[in-house]
Symmetry: C2
């Protein structure tokens, strides 16, 4: 049997990554462009330019295209308005790809695609019930239940980053206040740092980072023993630990797998997180839920998951447009 | 074909209700005993005494027994320690029923059984994805996803009454603080009333209820225009509305169906609830989620759902003990 390939595309708030995937899970020809703040048409032109060489070389072997994007409606094939993209109300992404590349196109929410990739090729292989949290610009989530992707009405399940956790808290791009991702994400941690630096006495080292401060800086600070940076991790873990205990009381997963930049901060996050999670967990679940860090290379879960939509039906709607 | 019957038993925090169910959903020979605070053996003796006449009359036609109980582990057939029963750590309820009555016995979490009954015979027939909230002594929940009961690890999914919603809030029987059911349940509303009556000026009418104050009194007060009672409904609705918005951001259901005593308070609860829910709902779900009141007679959903376990496999574990 000849070479079989699917193109996986992960459209994130900052970058759009892509790669050719074989059914066994190896990823070829990875590339990325910045997602940018331009309208969809201009973004799509830039993406085409990056993909054209791949289609020229492997066109006949590419069996389909899987696309993960924030606020994607898998049944309708549209991407709805999102806080992190500047495309407008409802963009018919599936049709646009299909018209341009003449291949079957499968669209899915980005974190759902990542959860699906994690389930097929990552730590999620060991579980029938798990939650994937992607900690990046925002907090995305995908839920696997009984080995299937939990989709909900219109494929819109799993927006855990928009759980209201602080009712009168920080303003969110969604128009409400106190969403989980305003605290627990790279952006959220930087916001915590900025707010605290106004009212407390940060170290010289931290002050020197200036307006370009990143979440990675906060990790570096923690490594240096910087007190405020350590406290930022503790605060972030406290909010995430409680939210995770609530996720468990809803879904009773076997594991929660963390993915993305923040997950790579390792023990600085995981150590306080495990302690707060344990403290807040309902006794029914004691000792039954693992907290893991994804071992898939950065960005690869979403590309794998998106590409796998082409071959693996569980992610696909089994009926018409339910949204 | 002859008469086919299943016995459905709903073990609640206060009462245990039972009835014979036909496959079409009609319920016969309903009865109840108080659940009481006695140990399991003594409770089971009292229940046997109530059930024996039913078995004498219909024994051969009864094809099985379905039991709904708090903290039931459907795979193991055990009821774990719960805040509202005084039975101990892990009671092998399935085996005890099976030994005594010599029929197949199916055990399920009480609110899961109610959700399943609602799905087969109630408003839930119209939906593939919905959440049932039972508002009684506590707050129970059952989740239907793609027409199946969402079970999670060990069948322990759907403990939404133990979402921590007020981190430093009221003490809960589970050993933690600020659980949703400490605020949103008959017990929770009475607790709100008591706390507020200490620090505010309740009406003469409300004060006259004394220590025997019930949630029904609060409804009666609201009907009389009692300001504090109206405010208690508003406060309860505010907490529930936000929690429901978070449930939607997890599960994207088509509907949330309320069931039990509090749901029967009607507009006093539903009117502020719809307003807070709308206010807290993520824009993605705007106008897409119905809030409904169960139309099944009080207690009947759980009996129907429990009995239906005998005939309808979707609720059954498809494999060995996963818990």
């Amino acid at each position: 049997m000849g070479l079989r390939l699917a193109l996986g595309i992960d459209i994130g708030g900052t970058n759009t990554q892509f790669g050719l995937v074989e059914p066994g899970g190896s990823v070829w020809k990875r590339g990325k462009i910045s997602t940018g703040e331009d309208p969809f048409d201009s973004f799509f032109q830039r993406l085409q330019a990056a993909l054209d060489p791949i289609f020229e070389a492997y066109g006949p072997q590419i069996e389909g295209i899987g696309v993960g994007a924030p606020n994607a409606q898998p049944y309708r094939g549209e991407v709805l308005r999102t806080a992190n993209l500047h495309w407008g109300e409802a963009i018919p992404v599936r049709d646009r790809f299909q018209q341009r590349f003449r291949k079957p196109v499968f669209l899915q929410n980005d974190a759902n695609a990542a959860a699906w990739g994690e389930h097929l090729f990552g730590q999620g292989r060991a579980f029938k019930d798990f939650i994937l949290l992607t900690l990046g610009t925002g907090l995305g989530s995908g839920i696997i239940q009984e080995g299937r992707l939990l989709l909900g009405q219109g494929g819109l399940a799993g927006e855990l980053g928009h759980w209201i956790v602080e009712p009168e808290g920080r303003s969110c791009g969604c128009g409400r206040k106190g969403c989980l991702e305003r605290y627990v994400s790279a952006t959220g941690m930087v916001e915590t740092a900025r707010l605290w630096m106004e009212t407390r006495s940060p170290s010289r080292w931290l002050s020197d980072r200036g307006p370009a401060l990143t979440a990675l800086d906060i990790t570096k600070g923690a490594e240096r023993g910087d007190a405020l940076c350590l406290e930022i991790f503790d605060y972030t873990a406290r909010i995430l630990g409680r939210a995770m205990a609530n996720m468990v009381a809803c879904l009773a997963p076997e594991a929660i797998i963390l993915f993305g930049g923040l997950a790579e901060a390792g023990a600085w996050l995981f150590s306080p997180l495990e302690s707060y999670f344990k403290q807040d967990l309902l006794y029914l679940y004691e000792g039954k839920v693992q907290i893991l860090s994804s071992q898939l290379p950065s960005g690869e879960a979403a590309i794998l998951g998106a590409a796998s939509l082409v071959w693996h039906s569980p992610l696909q709607p089994k009926e018409g447009d339910r949204g």
